[in-house]
């Protein structure tokens, strides 16, 4: 069980992110979670959106460079220690986390963490075996 993440290339300049979020707003795509990684010259905007297909379509029309890949979304208790339970499990099992970001589900008591790992299959198995609850694209739509 994975969720779709859209990563968009953006140069470091005024309006770099704005252009992207405006395009999404224009077709009523809601951004569930957002993370920007930046270097001196450019950034990578990563996001989980309410409707990935719609987002892909509008981004393609917009002419930007982006890729869609599968990442893992895990529900964690929105309480101290929630994230460390997940990370200590992955560390113990030798899963390397490339990056992660989290968001709070306002309709419930859960937080969600988005994980980009070196081996999706294995990491999913580790998490599910430990009884963790993973998000699907349908879950994201309904959030």
């Amino acid at each position: 069980m994975t969720i779709k993440q859209i990563s968009i290339f953006a140069e470091n300049r005024p309006g770099g992110v704005l252009n992207v979020v405006q395009a999404l707003a224009g077709v009523s795509v809601d951004i569930r979670a957002l993370n920007v990684a930046d270097t001196k010259d450019y950034g990578i905007i990563r996001m989980i959106v309410s409707d990935a297909e719609k987002a892909e379509k509008v981004l393609a029309e917009n002419g930007g460079v982006f890729i869609v890949n599968d990442v893992i979304g895990v529900r964690i208790p929105d309480a101290p220690g929630g994230l460390s339970a997940v990370l200590s499990l992955l560390a113990k099992k030798g899963v390397n986390v490339e990056y992660l970001y989290a968001f709070i589900n306002t309709s419930g008591s859960n937080a969600c963490v988005v994980l980009r790992v070196n081996d999706n299959e294995y990491a999913q198995k580790v998490l599910v075996d430990a009884g963790m609850s993973l998000l699907t694209d349908d879950d994201i739509k309904k959030l």
């Binding site: 993440q5 990563s7 290339f9 953006a10 140069e11 990684a37 270097t39 010259d41 450019y42 990578i44 990563r46 002419g63 930007g64 460079v65 982006f66 890729i67 890949n69 490339e98 990056y99 980009r116």
Partner: protein, 435 residues
Amino acid sequence: MKRYYQPEIETMPLEQLRELQSQRLVAQVKHVYENVEFYRKRMDEAGVKPEDIHGIEDLHKLPFIEKDDLRDQYPYGLLAVPLSDCVRIQSTSGTTGRRVVAFYTQHDIDLWDECCARAIVAAGGTKDDVCQVCYGYGLFTGGPGLNGGSHKVGCLTLPMSSGNTDRQLMFMEDLEATILCCTPSYASYLGENVVERGLKDKIKLKAGIFGAEAWTEEMRRDIENKLGIKAYDIYGLTEISGPGVSFECEEQTGMHVNEDHFIAEIINPKTGEVLPEGEKGELVFTSITKEAFPLMRYRTRDICVLSRKKCSCGRTHVKMSKPMGRSDDMLIVKGVNVFPSQIEMVLLKNGLTSNYQIIVDREKYSDTLEVRVEMTPEFFTDTLTDLAQKEKDVVAQLKSVLGIYADVKIVEPKSIVRSEGKAVRVIDRRNLYQG
């Protein structure tokens, strides 16, 4: 005192010089026709036989040879003597990454060294001088050429090669170097350091011989002031021999072509028609004395003017202006030939696009090369580590192909300015060419 290395040749009356050129040209045409299939085929195609060439007045009948031909004939296709007679190669980059390799017999090395010796003597060099050569040594012709010339003159030669400014300055001061040979941008850099470190009164330099890249009169005055020297220009290209194809005398109004070895012509780059003296066009050289790798009517792509106006130095050999531009898209960056096509090849190989821009600038007299290229979905990834690695790979491949460092900057699609639908490939901010 007149400064000639070979006075009888350098001041030879024009009629006699033409006669010498004619004799040598006739022999050279015969040599290449008999020994190089490429020339034989080209001349047959053009309907020219060696017997049709009676002297320099017939030179225009011969077909041109171009850089692409050199690439196509790599490595041995243009060799005119048995390989066992060759003693050296030098090499320069070609248009699409494949290098041009030039071969030399000992005779070829000797004549090249002589040409450089003439340049050193014209700059005031004698056997009592200490000549510091900080051109690169190796495949690049700068170091080996001036090194050989310095030996011929009998100077004490410091084969420094390029880089390591601290050591350059230490030897310059401690060994009392009097003549400096390097690229003009490195000379400027050394000059700045000499001033900053308060060495100007401690060094003994009197002259500098600077070439392998374009430089302005303004830059010349700056170098002369900072180093307390007279700065002389020198021109050459690996295909023809190396530095010393032409050199400046004390008049500093153009470079005398060593016409006993190389015949210079100016042509219209579009039609190939030979232009009269004084007109601006593309410079073409024919080597009439080289044995191993003689190029006949080689199109240099340098745009310049030839002048036979009497020179106060007494030399009779024709003078060429500083190159005023190029008739192709080759750039000279840090003395190295750079073709946009070489850069494009690396970009495409890595999944990037041909929407790129090369920006050449000069910071503190040193050239900088930046390549801006638009991001593609093939190149893009969602992790910074992967992206940084991919960028590093591109930089390393460019370094390997070009021989110099290029800063790579990846930009958003459609952000590179296009003119009539095509990206503007080269932006040269150095303003090197005058006139």
